[in-house]
């Protein structure tokens, strides 16, 4: 499952042009990574493609931290 964490961090670093030390599990998507609603759409689509999962509206939001997103994806992969 660490692989999931690394993949998600990698997606965020690439998409947001950020360094590993900025994209921590504790980083809040809105307050720390400054992600807006369109960047959230990009993230959702990227997660769906990467992990072959379906993310429904509201399951992740930019109020979440990176760790919350990792957990959401991990839970979906277990189902």
């Amino acid at each position: 499952m660490e692989e999931v964490e690394e993949k998600i961090k990698g997606l965020l670093m690439k998409s947001l042009d950020m360094k590993p030390e900025e994209v921590t599990l504790e980083a809040n998507l809105k307050d720390d990574l400054e992600m807006d609603s369109l960047e959230m759409v990009e993230l959702e689509v990227a997660l769906e493609k990467e992990f072959n999962i379906d993310i429904k509206k509201g399951e992740i939001s930019n109020k979440n931290c990176v760790g919350d997103v990792v957990k959401t994806v991990q839970d979906k992969l277990k189902q």
Binding site: L16, D17, L38, V41, E42, V45
Partner: protein, 403 residues
């Protein structure tokens, strides 16, 4: 009209990026139109354009660049140049005292076309979410406002080939009326894309090249891409900062022909009216004008009616005024073209050199003015007019003078 100072120049155009390189190229009277390489244009009647390559965007983040179209990128780079040239330190300015006024005719099609293709090939999920904020004509205004934190009275003008002159004229009025201390005004356009070029082609006004306005063998205009921005402010604020004042806006007028959805009034009556109104506003006599930067659409109707309008206002003096269309060198930048015309005219004033109309070979008896054929020419310019015309009979005229 209260005179408004022009204090900063930002230019991204086929002849050069930044005013020095741009002006050196313009003076030489060379062509900067080349075969289109960005996509396969072999099925288009016009396969040449003025193209901006090698734009240095290294100071902009990938996170930003992936969200915006080329027309926003060029506008951002031009803004950077204009602010530096005007010695503006944004940390010392009230953000609500600075506004952005941009002209654009087409929107961001380089971005939009790719995403539309993805929509039809991959379905809805293949489309970038950033398309929503990348393509529309006011996007560059928003991006400049966000990037530089400029929050004052602002406006995007969409008026075909007259867009940028209208944006500059509008900004001059806003600054003149003291609604704003500093305005960044101009235009941006990126028409070298398959769909944008197709739209220009179907109108039937595109040239196979060369672009030769006022020449009897003309066959239309060639598109070009780029952005031009100037800084407008009151004379006092420019002096306080020690900024170079390139010139003053002294008059602006606009009116409509009301004749046809594409073509201008064949007699140029509307353009003549706009010229007269701008001269009156500036307090000039026709004989005060030393140079006219013409639209020079390169269509018979466009060139002849523009010539008629100038002759109607200036009478016999029309023969004595150099009237040129520098865009013959790099293409018609549509909604950004007049911003480049204003910049060319300011630099021409500064150096006392009239830029030429290139590719001029065959005289047209119906176009009998001095179009400054092929070579630039030394001449002191104290007062000048810039003429703009958009499809559907839009006319706009700006009067400027040396400070």
């Amino acid at each position: 009209m209260k005179k408004v100072a022009l204090t900063g120049i930002g230019i991204v155009a086929p002849p050069g990026i930044g005013k020095e390189g741009f002006w050196q190229s313009i003076k030489q009277g060379k062509s900067f139109i080349s075969p289109i390489t960005r996509f396969d244009a072999s099925l288009y009647p016009s396969q040449v354009a003025g193209q901006v390559e090698d734009l240095d965007t290294s100071y902009l983040s990938f996170r930003l660049l992936k969200k915006i179209d080329k027309f926003s990128v060029m506008a951002l780079v031009a803004t950077e140049h204009a602010l530096k040239d005007a010695l503006i330190d944004l940390d010392k300015e009230d953000p609500y005292n600075i506004g952005v006024f941009l002209g654009n005719a087409l929107g961001g099609w380089l971005y939009a076309e790719t995403e539309l293709r993805d929509l039809y090939v991959e379905g809805r999920e293949g489309v970038s979410p950033y398309l929503a904020s990348a393509w529309f004509p006011a996007a560059p205004q928003g991006q400049i406002s966000i990037y530089y934190g400029m929050k004052g009275y602002s406006k995007t003008v969409v008026a075909d080939k007259a867009s940028a002159l209208m944006a500059i004229g509008y900004a001059a009025q806003v600054v003149g009326n003291k609604k704003l201390g500093i305005a960044l005004a101009g235009g941006t356009e990126a028409p070298v894309t398959p769909y944008a070029l197709l739209c220009c082609s179907t109108e039937g006004s595109l040239s196979k090249g060369p672009y030769r306005p006022f020449d009897k063998e003309r066959d239309g205009f060639v598109v070009g891409e780029g952005a031009g921005l100037v800084v407008l402010e009151e004379m006092e604020s420019a002096r306080k900062r020690g900024a170079t004042v390139y010139g003053l806006i002294t008059g602006y007028a606009t009116c409509c022909d009301g004749t046809h959805r594409i073509t201008p009034d064949p007699n140029g009556k509307g353009l003549a009216k706009a010229i007269k109104t701008a001269l009156d506003m500036a307090g000039y006599q026709p004989s005060d004008i030393d140079y006219i930067c013409a639209d020079g659409t390169g269509t018979k109707l466009g060139d002849v009616s523009e010539t008629k309008a100038i002759k109607e206002v200036f009478g016999s003096y029309a023969q004595k005024i150099p009237v040129s269309s520098p865009k013959s060198m790099f293409g018609h930048l549509l909604g950004a073209s007049n911003a480049v015309d204003v910049i060319v005219t300011l630099l021409a004033m500064q150096e006392g050199i009239v830029p030429p109309t290139i590719n001029y070979q065959t005289e047209d008896p119906e176009c009998d003015l001095d179009y400054v054929p092929n070579n630039s020419r030394p001449k002191e310019i104290d007062r000048a007019l810039i003429l703009a015309r958009g499809r559907g009979g839009i006319n706009a005229v700006l009067a400027i003078e040396r400070s």
